[in-house]
Amino acid sequence: MPEVLVRKRVLSVEEIFHEGGPPADRPLKRAAALSVIRNPFAGTYADKIETFMDDLKPLGLEMARALVKALGGDRQRIEGYGKGAIVGSAGEIEHGALWHVPGGYAMREVLGGAKAIVASTKKVGGPGARLDVPITHVNASYVRSHFDAMEVGIADAPRADELVLALVMTTGPRVHARVGGLKASEIKGEDGLR
């Protein structure tokens, strides 16, 4: 079982008061947790990689808990989420795909059973690569006010043999959301979509 060797962690929190319009009653907060880990499969083609998903579970849970804490500590206040990965140049995109299960299920577990699929993105990139992590409502993917994204990246990561793993959570809709569509107040909460 490959060991998860963490080189670096980054936690960033944005507090958005306005974007040219009326200031929000409660500022929108968005937070990203990033971990830079060694890619145990870098430089080779490994056929069997699936078991690494289990190895990543504790890290995913730690990151999800750190996000809830950074956003005030109350999981009920978390309204949006997303995840992503950047694979260093000696790895393949499939290594980034290993983050889907441990990253997504960690957030759902920590949030107490969020229903919507966790929006995600990934790419291969060098140190300083930026990733636009997509964000959707935690219980209903179609809630239009909560479609958002958060750009993340680290100046010195990923090195060639590393992975940058990202989780993102938010406390609400875009700060001046006004393009209609399904509202958070209209969620049925049955299928994770509406």
Partner: protein, 194 residues
Amino acid sequence: MRAKIRKIVTFLEETHSEMERLITPPTRRAAAVAVIANPCAGKYVEDLSELMAVGEELGELLTQRAVAVLGIAGDKAESYGKAAAVGENGELEHAAAILHPKFGTPVRKVLGKGAALIPSSKKRGGLGVALDIPLGHKDAAYVRSHFDGMEVRINDAPRANEIMVAIAVTDSGRPLPRVGGLTKDQIKGEDGLR
């Protein structure tokens, strides 16, 4: 508050290993960045006292945020630095007005001491510009293990009429310092240099 703040972003970086050597405890550094309206954008303003007053406010606010992110008492901070990026309709002198006349005193108040000059950098730039905040020991500028820098960026700032103002605070130096020089246990702390 005189500063018109659009958003505040904080970053916490922890280095847990480097070249596969574990760093115990991890080195940690935090940055707090405010994105504010530039009241002097688009014209030549002779008297920059408004921006100096804004600098005084932000010195306190951002240092408090950075220390909170580290979860330490102010006097446990080891190094610090500051920086500003002015949007394209502003002048480099606007960054100077925020950073130099009045910013430092409240920073030192929050941190208990701070005999050393606060290293700084400034630039003009567009959205997503990278700010490299220089870092130096807060009580003795010559402590070689604490010479460092922290890159921060915000993808949607600074807009043309905005200024990004940043402070970085650490509770440690570089992860594996080994280039000699004055060490922190040799600090006399009288002149801010040694």
